[in-house]
Symmetry: C2
Subunit: 372 residues, 2 copies
């Protein structure tokens, strides 16, 4: 069955693969390239949905693995899905749980049938097949669902990579077959480790099945940055240009700039939210480790170029005081700033591509970081 | 020197000592009776100033002891005081630090000169005289400052109580003499333990000195509720009716209702904020311990009679999920609800006194609690 792509292209950079477009979902249009804040357990940590809207978030990410374990997808479905449960009326992408189960290591066993694992909460035995992964995500009501995939460690030999990639392909077909609620989009995930030709094979097999979008999985798992960028580039080259491309679990601000350069439309990462809680703030001139005593009497905001709620109203000295005092407000204000920084970076990237000056934008971006 | 009282009476109940009025400060008029959310370390835990304004807070409390130790009053003064430092432009009352130093027990030594103590953070030796307490509070820029007082443990014998109460009186005179920035109000604190005649003597000695308001200190320290109410009543009887009366560190919703009945205008307590972080929500029908499994699938908000942000948008099931998952958003949403409950209770109390139906209001209040 031919499916209509949710992706619409606006502009293409003349300097690189970077492109400006949008993805249509049941809960609104998402402007791309986009960064998706991570809301693992039905909450983007330390902020409200209103905070996310104020900073311009159009889509957030939820984790199937976590929600399956607690509070359970049936309960969430009884609230009209994740949107109703967590009070978020814009788009949601859920990952399939594959990466989290892979992270459990000794607690998980992967077979042809699916993934058997033990809950990290209470050790109870659980099982997730590709069909289950789709069923759970349909119950969660996410706008974009991800196929269950197997992740490949780094480093991995060719044999291991071939097998895991082939299994991911067979699971992708089963996910596609199990997909009933077609208003919810389903994305395939390419694997193939650090082998460009396996990445190509993986992409081609997914295209044969046919999805609403294509993700690059299994990167940012410990490989050198350059290799991550090379594999991204090699994979994007084999993905259809009229569908959205999603680089999973990436990354630093620099990674986003480089990913867009290579044709990526969508990103997600815990970095802005997690670093906020660890007291590291992203700014236009580099990272600010707020607990540092150099900020004790500093009257300026975290980033003088930033217009987020935190930077409009608070000094580095106050944020340092909150952080060293372990005040909960520290996590809230730091998270607002970091997510705003990421979302605003993507907004600037979109504008630069619209004006076809992405090369100059990228130079300026690195120039400011080096100026610090 | 005769001082103009900051208090204006609006209405007086015909059934009790309850009264409706206002206290004028440099940062706005405070409608009374009022509950003041506690912002110990220059932050009302887990909420922003905007959240506090949305729930109608007109005054919050800061702690001299904590701010003196960290980040230091000189730093805060360089930000134009606590208001500028923490981004709050409404009224602030600071306590003197007496109660916190008293709570340090073995780490503190009280002499005629003042309180010698060790920081609970790093054990460093510190000293706070009555003059220091006023100087620090002047630097903090609080709208209402409190005299340094000595707290009396419960139980305490008469001799101990007489001595501590007399010392509090001598310190009150020294605080009054040290007071320079007269735009910042200074309140005296009555002590006298559980001895009504000592409470009277304490009140009279403070009135002789002359303050902008009078507080009842040393209650809610372990005595039976009835005794707390009796001593409140006995103290209020000896305080001037044209000045604000502040019952320090009190209390439960029931305590507020009873305090107002006996003539109290101002209250503060960590109970709504602390209980929020422990997962206990105050509602019109009693407490809701949100982690309880009975709320696992509960679709209703914490309090169906409440119109706070949390109750308008979230279910008990979602709040339970956040709390058991230790999501930071749980503390934020619970705190918004509990503070809204306290502030809304005070609003209802003010309206009831305006309509001279405080007795009926009080009956309804207890009736709803018993209905649960």
């Amino acid at each position: 069955m031919t499916r209509h792509s949710p992706y619409t292209l606006h502009n293409r950079s003349s300097e690189c693969r970077g492109r400006r477009g949008e993805v249509a979902t049941q809960h609104g249009i998402v402007q791309t390239p986009v960064f998706m804040p991570v809301g693992t357990q039905a909450s983007v940590k330390a902020v409200t949905p209103e905070n996310l809207k104020e900073m311009g978030a159009e889509i957030i990410l939820g984790n199937t693995y976590h929600l399956f374990i607690r509070p359970g997808h049936q309960l969430i479905e009884s609230f009209g899905g994740l949107h109703g449960f967590m009070h978020w009326d814009r788009a949601i992408l859920t990952d399939s749980g594959g990466f989290q189960i892979f992270s459990l290591k000794d607690l998980a066993t992967i077979t042809e049938e699916g993934a058997a694992f033990r809950s990290h909460l209470d050790g109870s035995k659980l099982f997730l097949s590709p069909e289950d992964a789709v069923g759970v995500q349909e119950a969660l009501g996410s706008d974009i669902m991800m196929c269950l995939d197997t992740c490949i460690p780094f480093p991995a030999d060719r044999k291991q990579t071939v097998e895991a990639t082939a299994l991911t392909g067979r699971w992708a077909q089963r996910c596609r077959d199990a997909h009933r609620r077609r208003q919810q989009l389903l994305f395939g995930i390419t694997q193939g480790g650090m082998y460009p030709e396996l990445r190509r094979e993986s992409a081609e097999s997914l295209i044969d099945i046919g999805f609403d979008g294509y993700a690059i999985g299994g990167l940012s798992v410990g490989e050198p940055k350059e290799q991550m960028h090379d594999i991204t580039e090699a994979t994007v080259a084999h993905l259809p240009q009229d569908y959205p491309v999603y680089l999973m679990g990436v990354g630093t601000p620099e990674d986003l700039v480089e990913g867009v350069w290579r044709g990526v439309d969508m990103f997600d990462c815990v970095m802005p939210t997690r670093n906020a809680r660890n007291g590291t703030l992203f700014t236009s001139t580099g990272k600010v480790v707020i607990k540092n005593s150099r900020y004790r009497t500093d009257h300026i905001p975290p980033d003088e170029r930033c217009d987020c709620y935190t930077c409009r109203n608070y000094s580095r000295a106050y944020l340092r005081h909150l952080f060293v005092s372990r005040e909960i407000l520290a996590y809230h204000l730091n998270t607002i700033h970091n997510l705003h920084y990421y979302l605003n970076l993507m907004k600037d990237i979109r504008e630069a591509i619209e004006k076809d000056r992405y090369g100059a934008f990228r130079d300026d971006f690195y120039g400011r970081l080096e100026g610090e």
